[in-house]
């Protein structure tokens, strides 16, 4: 059985940044296992720009952003196995993987989970109707267009206002398709505001909020969709039906972290994120196993994935090179009013450095508002925002000095700002 100091599972943006950070922190036996034939993950099919504004202070396409990290990786001695999929991860950090080069059982002192996420499907939202061809998740359609070079349809409706769907509305339009509508069941968009503007408004594509697809019609290929308005409980309102003649339905109805291996290893999960429960340094409930990127929480911006992965990679290096430093009191963190989750869910103040970054999403669109971090009745920290929306991940940095001493629970909530 071959041994490594660190095995990174996944060679997308999270895995790349984690491996490079671990190498830079002093690890020398590092392996990335990637199931695709090449590194870069989903960025390879994201040929639009808008990546890197935070991390590189310039605007890059997805492949360019991945390329920067792949170039950096080439300067290190990190080993890479592409075309190789991990089938099993055990809690003592044994990794079983398979590829055309062979079937292997490996062992590592530390693991970084960076498997990314997958798209929710029609089954997940239980859309009724026929089951014709022409129904794709937005990411699958994106692969057909941008990697394979084929058009998946001519008249398109997009269900859900997730970012990939919005990007595909523009992409399909530029390739000559007619995008008839984007339909969102919630009263607000789930994508970034910049994508609503640049991908829908700029192309006069209508966005129907509080609407959903209530019937799919077609034998062979999709022929027709029925779209209905929904009430406050997301139930279709009879009499509001609109009919769209179209050959394609793209689904952009959410992303799910791909945590099959995480669950298999027995790592504690957070039902709110569908990712692992992690400490401030991205360590999971199993010491030496770390999680970062979209497998931990679904991000909007790859720049934040990279930052999170660097933290995980450095923490893995610390775990291997300076064992025994992961102890101390533990605070728990969780969502309060109008907040849907927090990452991390646990903080060891002794490990917190100068402070702790907490990531979360709000449940509703706000105007001027405050983010409150409470410990019991006491407000520990307060942050002001002019605008927040569920489609845009928030983060705050709580200075170490403000963290309570001893075991306690921190709750993150939002309130309208006082006038």
């Amino acid at each position: 059985m071959k041994h490594y100091q660190l095995i990174v599972i996944g060679g997308g943006p999270a895995g790349l940044a984690a491996a490079i950070a671990a190498w830079n922190a002093g690890l020398r036996e590092v392996l990335i296992i990637e199931r695709d034939q090449v590194l870069g993950g989903i960025l390879n099919q994201c040929i639009h720009n808008g990546f890197g504004l935070t991390h590189f202070k310039e605007e890059l396409t997805g492949p360019e952003y991945a390329g920067r990290f792949i170039d950096q990786l080439a300067q290190t001695g990190v080993e890479v196995k592409c075309d190789t999929m991990v089938l099993q991860l055990t809690q003592d950090r044994q990794v079983i993987c398979t590829g055309p080069a062979g079937y292997e059982i490996l062992h590592a002192q530390s693991i970084v989970l960076a498997m990314g996420c997958r798209e929710r499907t029609r089954g997940a939202i239980q859309t009724p109707g026929d089951r014709p061809a022409g129904i794709y998740t937005a990411g699958t359609a994106q692969r057909y267009l941008n990697i394979e070079g084929y058009m998946v349809g001519k008249r398109v409706v997009i269900l859900g206002s997730g970012d990939i769907g919005l990007i595909m509305a523009r992409r399909m339009t530029l390739e000559g398709a007619k995008v008839l509508a984007c339909v969102e069941v919630m009263p607000h968009s789930s994508g970034l505001t910049r994508n609503i503007v640049q991908c829908l408004h700029d192309y006069d594509i209508p966005l129907y909020l509080s609407h959903t697809v209530t019937d799919i019609r077609g034998h062979g290929r999709l022929e027709q969709l029925v779209v209905s308005e929904v009430d406050a409980n997301r139930k279709p309102i009879p009499g509001t039906e609109m009919i769209f003649d179209c050959d394609t339905l793209l689904l952009s109805v959410g992303l799910l972290p791909e945590n099959e291996l995480t669950r298999m290893a027995g790592i504690e999960m957070d039902p709110r994120t569908n990712g692992a429960v992690v400490f401030e340094n991205n360590e999971t409930s199993i010491p030496g196993i770390f999680s970062c990127g979209n497998v931990l929480q679904v991000h909007d911006l790859v720049d934040f994935v990279s930052a999170e992965a660097i933290r995980a990679g450095e923490a893995a290096a610390t775990y291997v090179l300076h064992p025994g430093e992961g102890s101390g009191e533990v605070l728990t963190v969780g969502p309060g009013l109008d907040v849907s989750y927090t990452v991390p869910q646990r903080i060891r103040p002794a490990q917190a450095g100068a402070g702790v970054e907490i990531f979360f999403r709000v449940r509703r669109v706000t105007g001027s508002a405050v983010i409150l971090v409470r410990c019991g009745e006491q407000v520990v920290a307060k942050f002001r925002r002019e605008h927040m929306a569920p489609g845009e991940m928030e983060h705050i940095r709580v200075p170490k000095a403000l963290l309570p001493q001893g075991p306690a629970h921190l709750e993150v909530s939002i309130e309208e700002a006082a006038q």
Binding site: R35, D83, M85, L87, I96, T98, G99, P100, A101, G102, Y103, I105, R118, E119, T121, R122, G123, A124, Q126, P128, G129, D130, R131, P132, A133, G134, T137, G139, T140, R143, Y144, L145, I147, E148, G149, Y150, M151, V152, G153, K154, E175, G176, T214, I216, H219, G220, R221, P236, D247
Partner: protein, 480 residues
């Protein structure tokens, strides 16, 4: 001139072809779809019923119990996933206890092995996730779960290996009866055969009408289902039925051979084979009914809804008969539930009808009655390592949700009945059946179909012709 023509290659047509391929006969099977097992066979509860349900001393009872036994043998020989997990019929109230007692008596009369009445406690011990209001149950250990389309495909493939001529995309348009034969006119030319077997499912009456007025009507009935993620596959260990009613065997909750949980069906009149949509009302009915058996059912873990159309007739019995006017015509009609369970016994019975009609059944000297299939996911570590060393394509995982390798997909594409569509590959290998529903693997499966079969990427379909996945190249052109 063919000896026998079989119309339809669902599980009944496939079983018929398999059964007759043991004999020295020249056989053609005509299937209108682009793949076998594309009608009722591809969308049903995937259960091999024990046989306590049909009334005693009926042909249905006999064929169900015989078919159940034969299914085990065939699955073993032809490498079809099949597990005898047993079934429970729940009495959800005191008032339903007489019903399961009646089923128990029928089961004994029908010769169903091992059936027992269980108390409330015994029932809950066997299936702890059932409602604690259950009053008792009927346990039938011989009931099983099967992969229905692989069952049909395995029999069809074995028939082809033994010389049967299978013609896909071949729709029967009319039939002319001649003195000693039938001329079957299809969209792909005529076929002449001395004997004719119709296994046309929902189209049975339409096919029979090409020769004579049938004495039955087909009353298609749609059943809608949930298929839940493998995370829910252990919620029950056996097939859990409720007491049957006039709408059918009631809503069941069952594990599948692929490790998922299947929940359904309802029963609503359908307009025809294509009327297989799922409806919000239908799903709501199924959800409410299933929760009577398993209150904690997590329908949030749904990965796919689907519906199938039962080929029911206006009569309670199977309509398996030799025509009086055309003695060389055998009609296998009205194959309702338990048709899947009875399939090989129906075929054996039909072969006897053909024999009575004068067909000579002389056994072949070299009948191939074996089919091997590699399933990477079910191999041990050592077997996997050895397999990949022999053929590296078994190392490359194409469907990550179900762990289906390139080697398995290539093997399917090189099999006796090569699948040509994305869904046909799904039925052959399981690729695309998992929680991402082909989101990741379908472009790669698409590419393998193109590469292996040499067809244009734009011609690859989801299912039959007309369900093409792509409409053209992008402005910079296709790469496949």
């Amino acid at each position: 001139m063919k000896d026998v023509a079989i119309i339809g290659c669902g599980v009944i047509g496939a079983a018929m072809a398999y059964t007759l391929s043991k004999y020295q006969l020249d056989i053609t099977v005509l299937e209108k779809h682009s793949d076998v097992a594309s009608g009722t066979t591809k969308a049903n509860s995937a259960i091999i019923h024990a046989g306590y349900d049909p009334q005693p001393n009926t042909l249905m009872a006999k064929l169900n119990v015989e078919g159940n036994l034969m299914a085990g043998e065939i699955a073993e020989k032809l490498s079809v996933p099949f597990r005898r997990v047993g079934s429970l019929v729940l009495a959800l109230s005191e008032a339903e206890l007489p019903h399961i007692q009646e089923l128990y008596r029928r089961g004994l009369a029908n010769g169903v092995p091992g059936i027992t009445l269980l108390s409330r406690e015994e029932t809950l011990k066997k299936e702890p996730n059932l409602t604690d209001t259950v009053c008792g149950s009927l346990w039938a250990p011989s009931a099983g779960i099967i992969d229905p389309w692989e069952y049909a495909t395995a029999m069809a493939e074995t028939a082809v290996v033994n010389g049967v001529d299978l013609r896909l995309n071949t729709k029967v348009e009319s039939i002319t009866a001649q003195a000693d034969s039938f001329v079957i006119h299809t969209n792909r030319g005529d076929v002449q055969a001395r004997y004719l077997v119709s296994a046309a499912g929902v189209d049975a009456a339409a096919v029979r009408s090409m020769l004579e007025t049938p004495s039955y009507q087909i009353m298609p009935s749609r059943g809608e289902y949930y298929l839940l993620d493998r995370s829910e596959g252990q919620v029950v260990g056996s097939v859990v039925f409720q007491c049957p009613n006039e709408l059918g065997k009631g809503v069941l909750v069952s594990p599948t051979v692929h490790g998922n949980l299947i929940v359904g069906p309802n029963a609503v009149p359908a307009e025809g084979a294509e009327d297989n949509k799922v409806t919000a009302d239908g799903l709501a009915f199924v959800a409410a009914a299933a929760k009577r058996s398993v209150p904690g059912l997590n329908l949030g873990a749904n990965i796919r809804n689907f519906a199938g159309v039962r080929a029911n007739s206006d009569q309670d019995a199977f309509r398996i008969e030799r025509s009086e006017r055309y003695p060389h015509l055998v009609d296998l009609a009205g194959i309702k539930s338990p048709g899947l369970s009875a399939a090989p016994a129906i075929a054996f019975y039909a072969a006897k009808l053909l024999l009575e009609a004068g067909l000579e059944l002389v056994a072949k000297e070299h009948f191939v009655d074996r089919r091997e299939k590699i399933r990477f996911a079910s191999l041990s570590d050592e077997e996997r390592a050895a397999l990949i060393a022999r053929d590296p394509t078994y190392g490359r995982v194409i469907c990550r949700c179900q762990t289906i390798t390139e080697g398995e997909i290539l093997a399917a594409l090189r099999s006796p009945i090569p699948p040509r569509s994305i869904n046909a590959i799904k039925r052959r290998t399981g690729a695309g059946m998992g929680r991402c529903q082909g989101g990741f693997c379908s472009p790669r499966v698409h590419e393998l179909i193109v590469r292996e079969l040499g067809i244009d990427p734009l011609d690859v379909c989801l299912e039959d012709e007309g369900s093409e996945l792509l409409v053209g190249e992008t402005k910079t052109g296709g790469a496949l």
